[in-house]
Structure formats: C-alpha cells, structure tokens
C-alpha cells in the first residue's frame, strides 16, 4: 500500500528531517534548503513515476475500486487517489521548488530549518487536501496548509508582514468556521462524514428525487461551505484578503499563496463539485457559474487601475481563479485536463513574475518603480515582458494555450457564451498586464541600483524561456496529460 503514497511519505519524511536537523545542528539555512529541495525533487520524481506507471489496474492492488460514476479511486477510507490528484501534486511540487529557491534568496542569512519545515508542511497539507475522502481529513489538511501559510506570511517579522498575516489568519479562521458549519449541515442532510457514503446516498436520492428537507439542508450547507472554498480560491466576494496579504507578505510567499495554495483549492473544488456532488448539479451549477463569471470580472476590473504591482498580481490571481471555476462549472474530462495544463502554466508564469518583482519591487511595489528596468537589466525586462504577455494570453506564449484549452473545453461542453466571456475578460486583462511591461521599458534617469540577486534572476529567465518553449511546443506536455488520462481511463 505504501508504494501508492510515496510522494506524500517523502514530503512527510522531509518535514521531520528538516526539523530534526534544525534541532540537532542548530540553524543551518543552506543545509535545510538543500535538504528540502532534495526531498521535493524526490517527491516530484515519485509523482511523475506514478503518472507514468498509471493504468486502469494501477490501484487494484489495494483492493481499491474505480467508481463508475465519477472515475475516482477510493482508498483506505480517508484518502482518495487518482490521476487528477497526482497531476495537481506535481504542479504543487513544481511551485514549491520555485518557492524554496526564491525564499533562499529572499531571506539569505535568515534562512532556517523551521522555514523549510513550514514550507513542506504547507505542501503536505495541500497534497492531502485534494485527496481527502472525508470531512475530518479535509478540514485537518486544510488547516495544516493554512496555518503554515499564516506563519510564512508573517515570517519577515516586521509590521507589514504581521499585519498581513493577522488579516489572513483572522479571515481564514472565519472562513473555516463557516466551512465547519456547512459540514455540520451536510452531515444533517446525509447522515455521514464520508465522501463515499455521501456520494452513494446522493446517487440513490438522485434516482428517486430529493426530498424537500434534503434540498434545503444541502443548500444551506453549500452556502456555508462555499465561504471556506471561496476564501481559499479567492473567489468574489471572499477575495478581499488577497491584495492586502500579497502586499504585506514576503514576495516568495505571495507567489506561493497565488500558485500552490490556489492549485490545492482548485483540486479541492474539482473533487467536491465534479466528484462528491456531481450527481446533484441542480444544487451547485448556478452558484459556481455566477461565482466564476463575477470573479473574473471583478478581478480584472479592479486590476485595471491598480498601481501596486503586487496587488495587481493579486487581482490577476483572482481573475485566474474565475477562469478555472468556469471549467469546474463546465465539467467533462477535457475540462479537468485543461485545468491541469492551465494551473501548470499559471504556476510557472506567476512565479517567474514574482521572481522579477523580488528583484525590482522589494520595498516599493509601485508600478512606477519598474521604470528603467530595460536600461539596467534588459534581459530581465524581456523576461518580464514574456511572462506578462503570457499571462495576457497572447500567442505564441504558453498562457495563450492554457486559456485556449479552457475555452476549448467550454465550447466542447456546449457553453460557448462562457468562452466568449472568458475572452472578453482576457481582452480586459491584456491592458493591465501590458501596462506592467510598459513601465518596465520606460526610461529612468535616476541613479537607482538593482540588487544583484542571482537566484531570482535565473528563475525569471528560465521561467520566461519555459513559457516561450511551452507555447511553441505545447504538444510536449499536453500529449503527456492526454496519454496518462488515456491510460488511466482505458480510453
């Protein structure tokens, strides 16, 4: 059984190792970073190995079964394992590697083992969150993720950092309270905290017709639960924390919140709505649709005149969450694949952009502060341009394909209007992404010096090149996704 959970076990081992090293050897920042990178790489390797081995029979050794109705695999009651989850894991591991690299540069002499401990525990929380198969597991892994994030936001230990962490913590706790209340209502409606049993009861009820009390209880429960999910996703109207936290958090952490934590949230939403509640679409379809439509619009419009680059990226995160929510609504296998590709591209692009900001905008996130980047570091300016253009969804960069696949899956599921709305929002977003590029290419006559930071510099350039290559050869990764899905579902 252990062989199916190697990535999780590796991360868990990593958590303990960095903690013990810290205790035994004292603060050894470089060593801790190295160790945690090692564990991340091993976990990534195991995740990829899992994906390449996958076949319809892959999980049969556990006595697991493939559920006819939702194509998910249930294992040992509390955890569920499937191809989607593994892909999300891989993306999260990629994001965490980015995070570890950038943080090492950010904290330099202050790098420490406890920081790596929190990083890995956040990742573990995210990985288990998307695999939860009952509500206690879900809640606990959600809290592991959130607690680690609160601490990572506060880690700079200055007033801004504390303020951001305080807001994040307070609102996060509020949202968890709502989520818990919602779970209680669901328990009332279906009499179980297991997803498997809930799923079956919903399936039976869907055949016979839902009794009135179940409908009402489920609706109340959904309203409560969506607060918790919406908070993690930063969907409107639960997005308010995002810009403030991004502004106050250390730059790498802002990147982590906007990618890894977001990927976990997307995986979670897919698991709940396209998994647990898939047979009860009347309950959630309309809600998710409107949430996604409004989230896209509000994120993009708020970003139009935002002058802080970090807040701008926060609003961009919100808008992007809206795009993926739209495919959660549309559903279908293509939608899942599109969401995976989207999140991968989005993680690489966003972290690349944060790497640039780490060099240019530390201490002053105003967009004016980007002025003169082209004069001082032309290659960095080009990297930023490539990343922003990719976020704006302009070919031939990878961002275009990510959005293209999203829209494509919507059209395939007969939601062309949603695709139109997506493109309309893409058109708006191009404005503010390019505004960033604009400032980066403006002349600046002041005698400002940019810090020479090799790691973020390399990260930014590599991400930009990756984004371009992934745009030129999208086939390289989409065919892998296709192949794995094909192997898993025996298509």
């Amino acid at each position: 059984m252990i062989q199916y959970f190697l990535p999780e076990i590796t991360i868990l081992a990593g958590i303990l190792v960095v903690l013990i090293l810290e205790i035994v050897l004292g603060r050894k920042g470089f060593l801790a970073t190295l160790v945690s990178l090692l564990f991340l790489l091993v976990a990534g390797f195991f995740a990829l190995r899992d994906l390449s081995l996958i076949s319809p029979d892959y999980y049969k050794g556990l006595g697991a079964f493939i559920n006819e109705h939702q194509n998910l695999v249930y294992i040992i009651k509390s955890l569920r394992l499937g191809v989607v989850e593994r892909f999300m894991d891989t993306i999260m591991i990629v994001g965490t590697i980015y995070f570890v690299l950038l943080s090492y540069d950010y904290f330099r002499s202050r790098a420490s083992g406890d920081y790596q401990f929190l990083t890995l525990s956040a990742l573990l929380g995210g990985m288990l969150l998307i695999k939860s198969n009952n509500w206690p597991t879900l809640l606990l892994s959600l809290e592991i993720l959130s607690f680690s994030l609160y601490a990572l936001v506060a880690f700079r230990k200055d007033l801004f950092s504390y303020e951001a962490a305080g807001k994040y913590f307070f609102l996060g706790a509020l949202s968890t309270a709502f989520l818990t209340m919602g779970i209680a209502f669901l328990y009332l409606a279906y009499g179980t905290i297991d997803f498997g049993t809930t799923f079956q009861r919903i399936y039976t009820l869907a055949q016979a017709g839902f009794p009135r009390e179940v409908i009402i209880l489920s609706s109340i429960a959904l309203a409560f639960i969506i607060v918790g999910f919406g908070f993690k996703l930063s969907a409107v109207p639960f997005h308010f924390w995002t810009p403030d936290v991004f502004e106050g958090a250390p730059t790498p952490t802002a990147g982590f919140v906007s990618t890894v934590s977001k990927t976990a949230a997307i995986g979670l939403v897919f698991a709940i709505f396209q998994g647990l509640l898939v047979n009860y679409p009347a309950l959630w379809k309309g809600l998710i649709l409107w949430l996604s439509v409004i989230t896209m619009l509000v994120g993009n419009i708020a970003a139009l005149r935002e002058n802080s680059v970090k807040k701008l990226l926060a609003f961009s995160t919100i808008a992007n969450a809206g795009y993926v929510l739209a495919v959660v609504y549309a559903g279908g296998l293509e939608a899942v694949k599109a969401a995976i590709v989207f999140m991968l591209v989005y993680t690489i692009t966003t972290f690349g952009a944060f790497a640039v900001l780490q060099i240019t905008s530390e201490g002053n996130t105003h967009i004016e502060n980007l002025r003169g980047l082209f004069q001082r570091k032309p290659d960095l300016a080009f990297a930023l341009a490539a990343l922003m253009v990719s976020l704006a969804g302009i070919p031939p960069f990878a961002g275009f394909f990510a959005k293209f696949f999203l829209a494509f899956s919507m059209v395939q599921m007969n939601h062309p209007l949603l695709a139109i709305w997506l493109f309309f929002n893409g058109a708006i977003s191009a404005y503010y992404y390019l505004r960033v590029v604009y400032y980066a290419f403006q002349r600046d006559d002041s005698e400002k010096e940019l810090p020479s930071s090799r790691i973020p510099y390399a990260v930014a350039v590599v991400s930009a090149v990756l984004v371009l290559l992934m745009g030129l050869f999208p086939d390289a990764y989409t065919s892998f996704v296709d192949k794995v899905f094909g192997a898993f579902f025996g298509l």
Binding site: K167, L171, F238, F240, A407, R435
Partner: protein, 617 residues
C-alpha cells in the same frame, strides 16, 4: 519550396533576435542586420512568387504537429497558393523599402536597435499570418502583428499620447481577436478541423446558419485588424508611432490582414453570399464614412490614415462581393502608393521639424522637389486617376459593385471617389502649393537624404506601373480563387470616364478652394484681368467662406460627434475603464478594499448571506 519558405519567414525573425538581444552592443549599426535580412526575405518572396506563378500549383507542407488536443490537430506548416504568394511578395517588397527609408528617418533616435528589432518582428509575424496553413497558426501571426504594432505605436512611450494610442490599438484589436477566435471555434465545431486544405476540401454544404455565424465572427476579427467600422478608432491614433511604422501598418503588414483573411476564407464566403454582402456593405460604408472625416482634418498623417480606412473599405467591398481578385489587386496597388504617401509625409515632417499641421505648411514644392513629385504621384494613384495604379484596381472594384446589383454599394463607392480626390488634393495643395504660412519653418526646411528618397522613388515607380498588370493579375488569382458569382461583362469606357470625371471634379474643387484664391498677383498687372480676377477671387472667396462655415462646419461637427460617440462607446466606456461603468465598478471595488479586516469580514458575511438566500429561496 521548404527552404525558400523557411528562409523568407525566419530571416526577419533572426534579425529580430540579433537586434533584440544584442541591442546594446549593436546600437547604431542595427540596420546592417535588419535591412539585409529584409532584403533576403524580399528576394525569397520574389522567388516564391516566381515558383508559384511558374508551376501554377499549391505548395503545402507540414513541419511538425504543433498542438494535439483531443480531436484538434494543429500543424505548423505553410500553404502557399497564388493568393499567399502575392501577399508574401507585397509584404516583403514594400517592407524592404520602408526598412531602408527608416535608416535615414530614425538616424537620430536613441533606441535605434530596438526599433529595427520590432520592425523585423512585425514583418515576421505578418509573414506567419500569410503563410500559415491553418487558422490557429494564422491567429498566432495575427496576434504577433497586434503585439508588434503595440510596441511600435508606443515606441516613443515617454509621450503619453503614444502610450495611450498603443493601448487603444491593442485593446480594440483584442476585441476583434476575440471575434476571430470565436470564428475559429465555430469553424472547428462545423468541420472538425482547422486546416485550410481539410476545410476547403470537405463537404462545404454544412449548416448555413452556423457557417454564417462563423463567417461573421471572422469578419469581426477582420474589422478589428483592418480598421473597419466600428473598430476603426485605433488607426488614426496609431499615428503616434514613427512615420515609417505608419507606412508599414497601413501598406504592408497590418491592416491588410483582415482583407487577406476574408479572401483566404473565400471558399466559405462563397457558400453564404449574404455574409459577403455584410462585408461589402460595411466596407462601402466605411469607405465613405472615413473619407468624410479626412475632409476636415488638418493633420497630415491623420488625413492619410483616414484615407487608408477608406481604401480598406474598398478592398472589403471587393472581397465581400466575391470579386476576390479585385479586392486583392487593390490591396496590392494600395500597398505601393500608401507606403509612398506615408514616406512622403515622413519626409515633409522631417523637413518641418515634426510639425503635422498642414495649416503651417504650404509652398514646399520648391524646397522639397523630390518629395513633392513622388507625393504627387502617390496622390494621383490614390485619387484613381488614369493611368496610375489606383485607377485600375479601384475601377475594378467599382465595376463589380455596379454589376453586383447592390446599387447602394455602387453609389457609396462612387461618392468615395469624389471625396478621396478632394481630400487628397486638398492635402497636396495645402502642403506644397501656395505661400508658406509659417515662414520660420519654411526657411529651415530641407530635402531628405538619398537613403530616404530612393525608396520613395522606387515606390513611386510602382505607384505608376503596378496597375498595368491587371489582366494578368485577374487571370493569376482566379486560377485558384472563386470567381465573382454574378454575370461578368467587360468593363466599358463609361465607368472609367465617370470615375475619372468625379476624381477630376474633386481635384478641381480642391484647386479652386486652396490654390486659386491664393494666387492674386501674377496676372494682376492687366486691369481687365484684374477686374475679372477680383470678381472671381471674391466670388470664390465667398463660396469658399460659405463652404468653410456652413458645409465644413456641419461636416466637422458631424464627424467629430460620430467619432466621439464611438470613442466613448467602445474605448472609454467599456474597455479601458477610464469612464462610465468600469470606472464606477473599479472605484467601488477599490473603495471596499479599505484594508480593515472588520470590513472584509462583514463583506464576506454579506456575500454569504446573499448566496444563502439565493440558494435556499
């Protein structure tokens, strides 16, 4: 053919890479890379045209399969038929001369290498658009063109107007692009493929309604890129870029993309003539509408810009009515004389220290003889005077619009001829004739260097002779493109007489308004002549005044009103967010974002209660 295509396409790209990456070290030597790159590309374009014309077949090849997603297979490959070969030739050839001209024009600029890098990229993107063998790849080129134009229009980004213009161009184009993408999706839904050969080769008798929808979407894309009504608003502002860039956008690499796309989709448009009718009607309306705006403008570059919108309208009439060869033929002649006019305007600006107001010019004929003569040739071609290039192509389009039976289009195109001739020569007379209105500028004016004049003369040569090949052109294109679906009769002599007459009337009106009243002295010795002249002078003066006050005033306010209406509606109102709804929403969103978590908690709870009520009730 593979090698030839790769060479033509990628040499500008390599130029872009070299100048882009090493721009610091290259500096003022950038043209040694960019111009030869375009030279090679232009030779390649010529060779491609030669091969295609010689063999009469369609060249197609796929290098690799680019995207595979479910049933969607998008290859990276080329498709060169007669249409594409003509386009490749026009794009590379005209661009080459513009590159050469830029060496002189941009000599003083600080970001010389960056300029040439963008310029090369622009051409590369356009070639990608033209040579692609499927709609997705075409879209990639399409977006690349949009991006390059954004960078070049905003090239002097320290000017606020330039960065605003670039943003406007980009966003308006994105609206069109969204239409294009939806068209692509619809086509995929209909045919299950996006490759030209597969689509055109398949059974085209699909659902007419859906096909029309797809074509309308495609056309929305075309209106964005080709600056047709109502998405034309970006083009006049795009004048904020360097003048050679305007020449490139207007003549070779950007606005023609929409016309090309419609012509490329000809086998589909033939299935639904009604969709073509919409294209033609939009084109005809734009042709007249933009021309009226040019009548009252005083900015030398904007007048030419409006004329481009108007001329693209003619091309749209051609391709919309199914006379594909005529539309493309006009595209081809227009490329020469419009590039020429812009280079001429650039030369004038160069001489006048970047003054654009034609009211401050005048009498430049003696000071800038080369510029004057080439500009005059370009203007005659634009006005459609026999035997200049514009005459052949414009007359072909007007002839088809007469034959088509849609009389409204026919009369609109004829009106356009009169207006075009008038505003073109108003420009010529105001700039080159009469007395200098700004002595100081006039004294300092000087002719441009040879590196700028040579391209102008070359293009002037083509603006004269390019039209003579109309017979061959029709034969060549119609070998592969669909013919016009209505009865074709040989053009008589009547129509050319009418159009030339209209053009001459336009020129004469301009002459009597702007030249004659301003020549008071030469004949003034003779008292009789003096008396007649006085009468004429004042009479014309009266008419001129009346015209200025009543007609022009009215037209000006109308044009300004219409312009502002669409400006507000499409740009400020809904897209950029500088006014109205978006600003209000943005302000509300930001006001709520006040940084206090009690507010956030309250708002989250409010959102929750709202959702709860919506779900339960």
């Amino acid at each position: 053919m593979d090698a030839l295509v790769l060479l033509t396409l990628f040499v500008p790209f390599v130029g872009f890479l070299i100048n882009g990456i090493f721009n610091r070290y290259i500096g003022k030597k950038a043209h040694w890379i960019a111009v030869p790159a375009l030279g090679i590309s232009a030779l390649g374009g010529l060779a491609i045209l030669w091969q295609v014309a010689g063999s009469g077949q369609v060249f197609e090849n796929t290098f690799w399969t680019w995207i595979i997603a479910d049933k969607l297979h998008v290859p990276f490959g080329y498709y060169i038929d007669n249409l594409a070969a003509i386009m490749v030739f026009v794009v590379t050839f005209v661009s080459f001369w513009i590159h050469l001209y830029s060496v002189g024009y941009m000599a003083e600029d600080r970001s010389y290498a960056r300029y040439f890098a963008y310029l090369n990229f622009f051409v590369f993107a356009m070639l990608l658009l033209v040579m692609a063998n499927n709609y997705v790849l075409m879209f990639v080129g399409w977006e690349g063109v949009g991006l390059a134009s954004y960078l070049l229009i905003g090239f002097w980004f320290h000017k606020k107007s330039a960065s605003d213009a670039a943003n406007k161009a980009f966003i308006v184009n994105r609206i069109g692009d969204a239409g294009f993408l939806l068209g692509i999706f619809t086509l995929f839904a209909l045919f299950g493929t996006l490759n030209y050969t597969d689509i055109f080769g398949s059974n085209l008798t699909v659902n007419k309604g859906l096909l029309s929808l797809a074509l309308i979407f495609l056309f929305i894309g075309a209106t964005g890129k080709s600056a047709q009504f109502p998405l034309y608003v970006w083009l006049p502002d795009a004048m904020e870029g360097p003048t050679p860039v305007s020449a490139l956008i207007h003549a070779a690499t950007m606005v023609t993309a929409g016309v090309y796309m419609v012509a490329r989709s000809a086998p589909l448009f033939v299935q639904v003539p009604e969709a073509g009718y919409i294209v033609a009607l939009t084109g005809a309306f734009t042709a007249v509408f933009a021309a009226t705006m040019a009548l009252v403008n005083n900015d030398i570059k904007r007048i030419i810009a409006y004329s481009t919108i108007s001329q693209i309208g003619y091309m749209m009439v051609g391709v919309g009515l199914g006379a594909y060869w005529a539309g493309i033929f006009h595209l081809y002649t227009h490329a020469f004389f419009k590039a020429l006019l812009f280079l001429g305007a650039g030369s004038v600006m160069h001489a006048m220290h970047d003054v654009l107001d034609i009211n401050r010019m005048g009498g430049l004929k003696e000071k800038l003889p080369h510029t004057f003569w080439t500009f005059l040739i370009g203007s005659l071609a634009l006005a459609g005077i026999f035997p200049f290039a514009g005459f052949w192509s414009k007359d072909a389009i007007i002839h088809y619009s007469e034959l088509s039976g849609y009389s409204i289009i026919f009369y609109l195109t004829l009106t356009g001829v009169l207006l075009t001739a008038f505003y073109t020569f108003r420009l010529v007379f105001r700039v080159f004739f009469g007395e200098p209105r700004d002595r100081e500028l006039y004294e300092k004016a000087h002719e441009s260097p040879p590196v700028m004049l040579i391209p102008m003369w070359v293009l002037a040569f083509f603006a004269v002779v390019a039209g003579f090949v109309s017979g061959w052109f029709q034969h060549f294109l119609e070998a592969q493109l669909p013919h016009a679906h209505f009865e074709h009769t040989q053009a008589g002599i009547t129509l050319p007489i009418i159009t030339n007459g209209l053009a001459l009337i336009g020129i004469l009106i301009a002459y009597f308004m702007y030249v004659k009243p301003a020549v008071p002295s030469s004949l003034g010795e003779n008292p009789i002549v003096k008396g007649i002249y006085k009468i004429l002078y004042y009479r014309w003066g009266i008419i001129s005044d009346w015209y200025e006050i009543v007609l022009m005033g009215w037209l000006r306010s109308l044009a300004a009103g219409v312009y502002r209406f669409f400006e507000d509606l499409f740009i400020d109102g809904t897209v950029v967010g500088s006014a109205g709804l978006t600003a209000a929403t943005g302000n509300i969103v930001r006001k709520l974002q006040d940084g206090k978590y009690s507010t956030y908690a309250l708002l989250m709870t409010a959102g929750f209660i709202l959702i709860l009520y919506l779900l339960v009730l």
